[in-house]
């Protein structure tokens, strides 16, 4: 059952992360930033089989990272920037979490003292 893209946005940082964790897929995304490309055009840029490219595209689509549009017999793909929002949100959580660990580490190492 296809799920709405907005749901992919809200629930899929893991899927986005997995999708991004492959250099071929990152390269595909870079190819289709800002303009559509057909699957065949994408495949022509890689030393991979069309089938392998199709699998990569499927992973990217499932993560909500690609839009797909049919044009006759062709399927055209383009990067969907909104899908990166949850990823960026994760990153925005990274530093506060890291600083919280820093606080624990420093304060845990301090000689006990009353600070307030």
């Amino acid at each position: 059952m296809p799920r709405p893209k907005s749901q992919a946005d809200a629930s899929a940082p893991d899927a986005v992360l997995r999708a991004l964790a492959d250099p071929h897929r990152r390269r595909i995304l870079r190819l289709v930033q800002g303009h559509e490309m057909a699957a065949g055009q994408i495949a022509a840029r890689f030393p991979l089989t069309q089938q392998a490219i199709s699998q990569h595209i499927a992973v990217l689509k499932q993560a909500g990272l690609l839009t797909e549009r049919r044009d006759g017999t062709r399927r055209l793909y383009m990067l969907r920037h909104e899908a990166l929002d949850p990823v960026r949100a994760l990153l925005a959580e990274f530093w506060p979490d890291a600083l919280a660990r820093l606080k624990d580490a420093v304060e845990g190492a301090q000689p006990s003292q009353e600070t307030r």
Binding site: L17, L20, A21, P23, R26, L29, R30, Q33, G34, L79, H81, E82, L84, D85, V87, R88, L90, L91, A92, E93, F94, W95, P96, D97, A98, L99, A100, R101, L102, K103, D104, A105, V106, E107, A109, Q110, Q113, T115
Partner: protein, 135 residues
């Protein structure tokens, strides 16, 4: 190039800046909060390398001014589009009574308003891997 909005974070630590600062420059201390292994040479131009699981973050120190300012670049080595160090993390330590306010700003992150911006992908990914591995 218009800059994308930086990610910022702050915290208050019950210790003076002199006690906090080495946590950004001493490999044995930085691994207590950021990464599993670290190779640091804390001087301008010196290496900043932190391994978080299988995800290395690499850069160089830009500013090292104990005990108040430290900045380092942050990126992913071996990337075809983005060499280590295309984003910058700036940290300012401010004494406040017996405490230290730590203000961190991560500049140069990918900008959704710039579809042509290519460099951010791998940086984002390296930082993200670090975030996920730690969560």
């Amino acid at each position: 190039m218009p800059s994308s909005p930086p990610v910022t974070a702050t915290t208050r630590i019950a210790a003076p800046p002199e006690a906090v600062f080495p946590y950004f420059t001493d490999p044995a201390l930085i691994v207590t909060w950021l990464g599993d292994r670290a190779d640091l040479n804390a001087q301008p131009g010196g290496v900043f390398a932190v391994e978080v699981g299988a995800s290395p973050a690499r850069g160089t120190y830009v500013t090292v001014e104990p005990p108040t300012r430290v900045a380092f670049t942050w990126g992913l080595p071996g990337s075809e589009t983005m060499p280590a160090g295309s984003t910058t993390v700036e940290v300012i330590l401010t004494a406040d009574g017996d405490d230290t306010i730590v203000s961190l700003t991560h500049h140069g992150l990918p900008d959704e308003d710039q579809p042509a911006h290519k460099k951010g992908w791998d940086t984002l990914l390296s930082a993200l891997h670090a975030a996920v591995k730690h969560s």
